[in-house]
C-alpha cells in the first residue's frame, strides 16, 4: 500500500537513486467499485496517472483491466446492469457528473482489444472523429488521415486504397486502423487495450516507437498481456488481479527481482500456483 502513496503530487522523492520529478496528475481514480449485475468486479481501487507518462496495466483475464478503461470514458454505461461507485477525475473534472460526455470521449482515444473497422472507407474511418467535431476542409482532413495512418504504421500498406472498406483489410491492419482512428481526434489521453494482440512483432515495435514519441504529446494508458511490453514502454506499471490493485510502482521496482508483492513477481515471471 505504501508504494502507491510514495509519490504525492508536487513533492520530489528519491527512489533507487532515481530522482522523481514533480508530476502533473491527469487522471485520479479513487475508491472505484464496479459491479455487473450485482457481481462486483472491481473492488475499490485508487491510483493516479501522470501527464505524459506511459502507464501500463497488467493482470490476467477477468481482473478488470478493460472495465477500468471503460470507466474512464464512461463507455461502461453502454453495458446494461453496471453500477459504478467512487470517483474518476480526468483533468480535474469528475467524469460521473460531467454533462458533456462527448467532450470527455473526444479527449480520450480508445483502442479496443478486438479491431473494429467501421464499415466505411479507410479514409472515412480516420476522418470520422474530426468530421464529427465539424472539420470539413478536405486538405486538413487529408493531412490528419495521413499523419494518423503513419503514426499507426499503416500508411504504406493502405495509401493506394484509402477508399476501400475499413472492414475489408486484415485483422492486424484493422487493429492499426483503430489506433489511427483513436489518434485522429488528437486526444490528451490514449488508452490502448491489448493493441498488439493481432499485430506481428515487427509492426508492434514500430508502433511502440511511435508511442514513445507520442508520450510527449499525450498520456498513454497501456493495457497489455505482454509483461515485456509493459516493461519496455511504461514508466509505471499497475498490477491488477481479480479486481484488486495488487501493486503499483515504477517499472524499476515492478520488474525488479524484488517487487513490493510476491504475486507481482510470480505473475511477471510466469510462476503461477
Amino acid at each position: 500500500m505504501q508504494a502507491r502513496f510514495r509519490y504525492v503530487c508536487g513533492c520530489v522523492t528519491e527512489r533507487n537513486g532515481n530522482r522523481v520529478e514533480r508530476k502533473d496528475v491527469t487522471i485520479t481514480v479513487k475508491d472505484l467499485y464496479l459491479s455487473y449485475n450485482a457481481k462486483e468486479v472491481i473492488h475499490g481501487i485508487s491510483f493516479e496517472i501522470y501527464r505524459n507518462e506511459i502507464f501500463s496495466i497488467i493482470g490476467p483475464a477477468q481482473s478488470g483491466k478493460t472495465s477500468l478503461l471503460r470507466c474512464l470514458n464512461r463507455t461502461i454505461e453502454f453495458t446494461s446492469g453496471t453500477s459504478v461507485r467512487g470517483t474518476v477525475m480526468v483533468d480535474g473534472q469528475n467524469v460521473r457528473t460531467m454533462k458533456n460526455v462527448f467532450d470527455l470521449r473526444r479527449k480520450i482515444g480508445m483502442v479496443a482489444p478486438l479491431p473494429v473497422g467501421l464499415p466505411i472507407s479507410i479514409y472515412d474511418n480516420v476522418a470520422f472523429a474530426p468530421r464529427c467535431s465539424g472539420l470539413t476542409n478536405k486538405s486538413d482532413l487529408d493531412g490528419i488521415v495521413e499523419k494518423c495512418l503513419r503514426q499507426a504504421a499503416l500508411w504504406d500498406e493502405v495509401k493506394d486504397r484509402l477508399h476501400s472498406l475499413g472492414t475489408a483489410i486484415s485483422g492486424g491492419q484493422q487493429q492499426r486502423l483503430t489506433i489511427a482512428r483513436a489518434l485522429s481526434h488528437q486526444p490528451d489521453i490514449l488508452c490502448l487495450d491489448e493493441f498488439s494482440i493481432a499485430i506481428d512483432p515487427v509492426t508492434t515495435m514500430r508502433i511502440e516507437d511511435v508511442l514513445i514519441e507520442l508520450k510527449n504529446e499525450m498520456t498513454i494508458i497501456l493495457v497489455t498481456n505482454l509483461t515485456h511490453q509493459a516493461k519496455r514502454l511504461g514508466s509505471r506499471t499497475m498490477f491488477l488481479y481479480n479486481g484488486n490493485l495488487i501493486e503499483l510502482d515504477t517499472n524499476e521496482v515492478i520488474f525488479s527481482e524484488k517487487p513490493g508483492k510476491i504475486e507481482t513477481y510470480d505473475y511477471i515471471n510466469g510462476l503461477f500456483g
Partner: protein, 319 residues
C-alpha cells in the same frame, strides 16, 4: 495489504476437465443426415420449379394473343385506351394502368419510407426495452391486417377525410390509394429495417461513441452505412408490397382508367385491373389473354426493381 513476500495468493482453477473419448457416429445418424440433406435439397429446388412453372403457365395463357391480327404490342404498351369489352372499337392499351401503378407506388413510398425508416431507427436506437416490445407487437399487428380491410378503411375513412379536408369531389383517388399502401408497407419497412439495424454489431456503436460522437452522428455516419443493404432491402420489400397490392388499391384509388394530372385524380393500377376483369373475361378470349400479358408486364416491373436494387447494392459494396 502489507508486503508479503512469503506466500502467493494466486491460484489456478483446480478442476480441468479430462479429455472426452471420441466415439464413432452410429449408422442411423449418417443415413439420417443424408436423408435430411436430400429433403432440404428438394425444398430448395422446388422454389425454382414453382417459379418456372408460374412463368410457364402465365406465358402459355398470354402468348397466343401476340399473334392475333387486331393486337399490337406497341398499342399494348403505349396507348392509354383500354376498351377490352367494346363491341366495335376494342383497344388494349395499358399505359394508363402502368402510370397508375407507378405513381401510386412512388407516392406511397414517398410517404412510407421516411416514416418506416424513422420508426425503425427509433425502435432500434432510442426507445427503452419495454416500449420496444410494445411497439414491435403493434407493428406486427398492423402487418397482419388483411388488405381488404385496408381497402375498406380507404373507401370509408380516408376518402371522407380527403373530401372534408381538401374539398375535392371524389375521395377515392391517387392520394387515398397511396396513403393506404403506405400504411400497409410501413410495418414491413419497420420490421425489416429494425432487423437490419439490430444486426449492426454493438462494437460499432461502442467504437463510434468512444470517439465522442453524439447519437445522431453515430446513426448517420456509422449505423446507416453499416445497415444500408438491409435498409435497402426493407424499402424494396415495401416497394414490392406496393406494386403487388391489389385489393386495397382496387377499393381506394377510384378505379378509373386515365393518366392522373394530380394527386386527387382517380387511377387504376395493373393489379387492380387484372383482379377486377379476369373474372368476367371469357377463358381463352383475347381480353383474357391480354390480362395475362398484363401479368407478364408486372413480372417485368418487379424484375427491373429487383435488378436495380441488385446493382445499387453492388455499387455500394464496390465503393
Amino acid at each position: 495489504m502489507s508486503s508479503n513476500l512469503t506466500e502467493s495468493t494466486l491460484t489456478l482453477p483446480d478442476a480441468i476437465p479430462k479429455r472426452v473419448k471420441r466415439v464413432g457416429r452410429p449408422r442411423w445418424a449418417i443415413i439420417g443426415e443424408q436423408a435430411l440433406e436430400l429433403l432440404i435439397r428438394i425444398s430448395g429446388i422446388s422454389a425454382i420449379v414453382f417459379v418456372l412453372a408460374i412463368f410457364f403457365f402465365v406465358f402459355k395463357e398470354a402468348l397466343p394473343v401476340l399473334y392475333s391480327h387486331n393486337f399490337s404490342i406497341k398499342e399494348f404498351l403505349f396507348s392509354t385506351q383500354w376498351y377490352p369489352t367494346s363491341v366495335s372499337n376494342v383497344r388494349y392499351g395499358t399505359f394508363a394502368l402502368l402510370v397508375g401503378s407507378v405513381t401510386v407506388t412512388l407516392l406511397s413510398m414517398a410517404i412510407a419510407v421516411p416514416f418506416g425508416l424513422g420508426a425503425a431507427i427509433y425502435i432500434s436506437e432510442f426507445c427503452g426495452p419495454r416500449q420496444k416490445e410494445t411497439l414491435k407487437i403493434i407493428i406486427e399487428l398492423l402487418a397482419a391486417i388483411p388488405s381488404v380491410v385496408w381497402g375498406f378503411i380507404g373507401l370509408t375513412v380516408i376518402s371522407k377525410l380527403i373530401t372534408t379536408i381538401t374539398g375535392t369531389a371524389v375521395g377515392v383517388n391517387l392520394l387515398n390509394g397511396s396513403i393506404i399502401l403506405a400504411l400497409m408497407s410501413v410495418p414491413i419497412i419497420v420490421s425489416i429495417g429494425e432487423d437490419a439495424l439490430k444486426a449492426v454489431p454493438d462494437s460499432f456503436r461502442e467504437a463510434g461513441m468512444a470517439m465522442g460522437t453524439t447519437r445522431w452522428q453515430l446513426i448517420l455516419r456509422v449505423l446507416l452505412p453499416a445497415a444500408k443493404n438491409g435498409l435497402l432491402a426493407a424499402v424494396l420489400l415495401g416497394v414490392g408490397r406496393a406494386v403487388g397490392e391489389t385489393m386495397a388499391v382496387l377499393m381506394a384509388t377510384g378505379h378509373s382508367v386515365k393518366i392522373p394530372h394530380g394527386v386527387f385524380d382517380s387511377v387504376r393500377t395493373l393489379t387492380a385491373n387484372i383482379a377486377a376483369e379476369l373474372g368476367e373475361a371469357a377463358a381463352g378470349s383475347p381480353h383474357y389473354r391480354v390480362l395475362f400479358l398484363t401479368g407478364i408486364l408486372l413480372f417485368v416491373i418487379t424484375f427491373i426493381v429487383n435488378l436495380t436494387a441488385d446493382f445499387v447494392i453492388r455499387g455500394i459494396k464496390r465503393k
